[in-house]
C-alpha cells in the first residue's frame, strides 16, 4: 500500500510568487488496484502523483510504501526505490529523439548493470508485446502518436515495476488510441500491477479499468468514488 499522510507541496516557498499546489492531503492507495486521480488543470493531481511516485519531495507530510517511510530517504536510496518500484508514463511521453524505440525502452535499465544482450532481448520482447517489434529500430520521431505511447509503456515496464504511474496518458491520443491504452492497462492490471493515473479524460475515469476515482480540486481531495 502507498499511504500519504498529510502531504503538502508549496512551490517557491517564502517568495512573492509562492504557490500551494497541494494542501495537506491524506490518501491510501491499495496495491493491485487501479486508482485514477481526476480533476481539472491545476487541481494538484499531477503534483500528488509525482509525490507518491517519489519524483518530488513534499513540503510537509510523510509517504509510506508498504509501511516503509520514503520521504525522508536520501536521494541515493530513493533513486533505487523509484527505479525498481515505479514505471512512469508521462503526458508528453518524454521519449528521447534521435534514439530508436528499442534504445528508449532500454535506457531505464542501464543503471541496473544488467548484461546488454539480456537487456536487449527483454526490451525487444516488451516491444513485441505491444506489436512494435518491427519498429524497434525506428527513430522516435518517425513513430505515430499511438506507437510512441506504446513505446513509453514498454519503457515503463522494462524494470518490471510493481506500480505504474501515468500522468494524463491519453491527452495526446485520439479516442481509438485512448481505448487501446485502456485495454493495455487493463491487461497489465490483470497481471497484478498497481496502476495510478492522473487524468481528466472521461475515457479513462469512466472506463472499467478504474477501481477507485479520486476527484481533486484546488489542491485538495474533493470527492472519492469507489467502483465495484
Amino acid at each position: 500500500m502507498i499511504s500519504a499522510r498529510g502531504i503538502s507541496k508549496v512551490f517557491n516557498h517564502g517568495l512573492p510568487n509562492e504557490f500551494a499546489a497541494l494542501h495537506p492531503v491524506s490518501l491510501d492507495v491499495s496495491l493491485h488496484e487501479t486508482t485514477v486521480l481526476k480533476g481539472p488543470s491545476g487541481s494538484g493531481k499531477t503534483t500528488l502523483l509525482g509525490l507518491m511516485a517519489c519524483m518530488a519531495r513534499p513540503t510537509s507530510g510523510r509517504i509510506f510504501l508498504n509501511e516503509r517511510e520514503i520521504t525522508s530517504l536520501p536521494e541515493r536510496f530513493l533513486t533505487e526505490i523509484r527505479r525498481s518500484t515505479f514505471g512512469f508514463i508521462f503526458q508528453q511521453f518524454n521519449l528521447i529523439k534521435g534514439l530508436s524505440a528499442l534504445e528508449n525502452v532500454m535506457i531505464p535499465a542501464y543503471p541496473t548493470g544488467e548484461k546488454y544482450s539480456i537487456l536487449r532481448r527483454r526490451a525487444l520482447e516488451s516491444l513485441e508485446m505491444f506489436n512494435l517489434g518491427q519498429r524497434a529500430d525506428a527513430r522516435i520521431e518517425w513513430l505515430s502518436g499511438g506507437e510512441a505511447q506504446r513505446v513509453a509503456i514498454a519503457r515503463a515496464l522494462i524494470n518490471n515495476p510493481a506500480i505504474i504511474i501515468a500522468d494524463e496518458p491519453t491527452s495526446h491520443l485520439d479516442s481509438i488510441q485512448s481505448r487501446e491504452f485502456i485495454d493495455i492497462m487493463t491487461d497489465l492490471k490483470a497481471k497484478g500491477r498497481t496502476i495510478i493515473l492522473a487524468s481528466h479524460d472521461p475515457i479513462v475515469y469512466d472506463s472499467g479499468l478504474a477501481d477507485r476515482v479520486v476527484e481533486m480540486r484546488d489542491g485538495r481531495i474533493a470527492n472519492e468514488i469507489k467502483s465495484s
Binding site: I7, R57, S60, T71, S72
Partner: protein, 332 residues
C-alpha cells in the same frame, strides 16, 4: 608575496571552508535542537533537504582542507628563498610568531576533517541519517578551529616581510635549541628506534587483529594516535638523519625538498592516512549499536583498518629503507 599562487590558493580555500563551516554550523545547531525523523513537519523536511546539500558541499571542502595542509607546507618551503637565513619551510614559519600556530591548527583541522569525512561516509550508508547528530556536533566542534585557522593564517601571510632575518632549521632543530624539538633531540636514537619499531609493531598487530577478528577497535585507535606522535618524534630524532646522511641535521621539513626526492610527502601522507583511518575505527565504534548501521559499520571499520595497516606498513618500509640499506650509520 601575498600574490604567490600557493598563498592565494590557501587564502581562497580557507575562505571557502570557513564560509561553508559557518553556514553548516548554523544548520547543525538547528539539527541538534530540532531534528525529529518521525515528524513530517515542514521544518523537518526542510532540514532533511538541507543536510543532503551541506553534507555534499562539506565533504568536498573538507577534502580540500586535507590538501591544504600539504599545500601550506609546500608553499612555506617554496618561498623560503625570499627570507634571509631561511633554508626550508622552518625559516618561513619562523618569520613571525603566527607560522607555527597556523601549522598546528592545520594539522589539528586535518585530523578533524578526516574524521568528519569518515563519519559522513558512514552516515551516508544508512537510510535514516543515523549519525546526523554526531556529524553536526563534530562540525560544531571543528568550526572555531577552522575559523581560527583562517584568521591566524591570514595574519601570518599578511605579516610576512622579506627584510626579516629568520632562523634556519639547523638552528631550530639542533641540540642547543629550546622547546619540544630539543627535548626530542635529547633522547638518544637507540631507545627512540626501539620505541618507534615497538609502537609500530604493536599498532600493526592491533590493526591485524581488528581486520581478522573484528576486535580491539579502541586499542587500535589509541595505538594509531600514539603512533602519529611517535612517528613525528622519530622523524626528528633519527629517520631524517638517514635521509640527509648527516648526524646533526634533524629538520623534519628538508625531507620535503627535491634534494631528498620529496620523500617527506609520501612519509607524511602515509603517516596521516594511517592515523586518521586508525582513529576513525575508534570513532565509529560507539555507533555499531545503531540499528541501520549494525552491519555497515563493521565493514567500514575493516576497510579503514586495512587502509591504516597498509599506510603504516609502507610508511615503516620507506622510513626503514635508508636505515637498512644506506652506508650511513649512527653507531659510530
Amino acid at each position: 608575496m601575498i600574490l604567490h599562487p600557493g598563498i592565494l590558493a590557501l587564502f581562497l580555500s580557507s575562505l571557502l571552508i570557513s564560509l561553508m563551516t559557518i553556514y553548516a554550523a548554523s544548520c547543525g545547531f538547528m539539527i541538534l535542537r530540532r531534528w525529529d525523523i518521525d515528524s513530517g513537519s515542514e521544518l523537518q523536511l526542510a532540514l532533511e533537504r538541507r543536510t543532503c546539500l551541506i553534507s555534499s558541499i562539506a565533504s568536498y571542502l573538507l577534502a580540500l582542507q586535507l590538501l591544504s595542509l600539504f599545500l601550506f607546507i609546500q608553499t612555506a618551503d617554496s618561498i623560503s628563498h625570499l627570507f634571509v637565513g631561511a633554508m626550508c619551510a622552518v625559516g618561513t614559519l619562523t618569520v613571525n610568531s603566527f607560522g607555527y600556530p597556523t601549522l598546528l591548527l592545520k594539522v589539528l583541522n586535518f585530523i578533524l576533517a578526516g574524521l568528519w569525512l569518515i563519519l559522513n561516509h558512514a552516515d551516508n550508508r544508512g537510510y535514516d541519517y543515523p549519525l546526523i547528530r554526531a556529524k553536526y556536533l563534530l562540525l560544531l566542534i571543528m568550526a572555531p578551529f577552522i575559523l581560527t585557522e583562517t584568521v591566524v593564517q591570514c595574519i601570518y601571510f599578511t605579516g610576512l616581510k622579506p627584510d626579516i632575518i629568520t632562523s634556519c632549521c639547523g638552528t631550530l632543530f639542533s641540540q642547543g635549541s629550546r622547546g619540544i624539538a630539543s627535548e626530542i633531540l635529547a633522547i638518544p636514537t637507540a631507545p627512540m628506534k626501539i620505541l618507534f619499531y615497538s609502537c609500530m609493531a604493536a599498532t600493526l598487530a592491533a590493526g591485524a587483529r581488528l581486520f581478522l577478528k573484528g576486535k580491539g577497535s579502541y586499542i587500535f585507535a589509541i595505538m594509531s594516535g600514539v603512533t602519529f606522535v611517535i612517528s613525528i618524534a622519530s622523524i626528528i630524532s633519527f629517520i631524517s638523519l638517514y635521509f640527509y646522511e648527516m648526524p646533526s641535521h634533524h629538520c623534519p621539513f628538508c625531507i620535503l625538498q627535491k634534494e631528498y626526492g620529496y620523500v617527506g610527502y609520501p612519509l607524511y601522507a602515509l603517516m596521516s592516512l594511517g592515523t586518521i583511518t586508525g582513529l576513525g575505527v575508534g570513532l565509529l565504534q560507539p555507533f555499531r549499536k545503531k540499528e541501520t548501521l549494525g552491519m555497515i559499520i563493521p565493514a567500514i571499520q575493516r576497510k579503514l583498518a586495512a587502509v591504516s595497516l597498509f599506510s603504516f606498513f609502507i610508511y615503516t618500509l620507506i622510513a626503514s629503507w635508508p636505515i637498512l640499506f644506506s652506508s650511513f650509520n649512527l653507531k659510530g
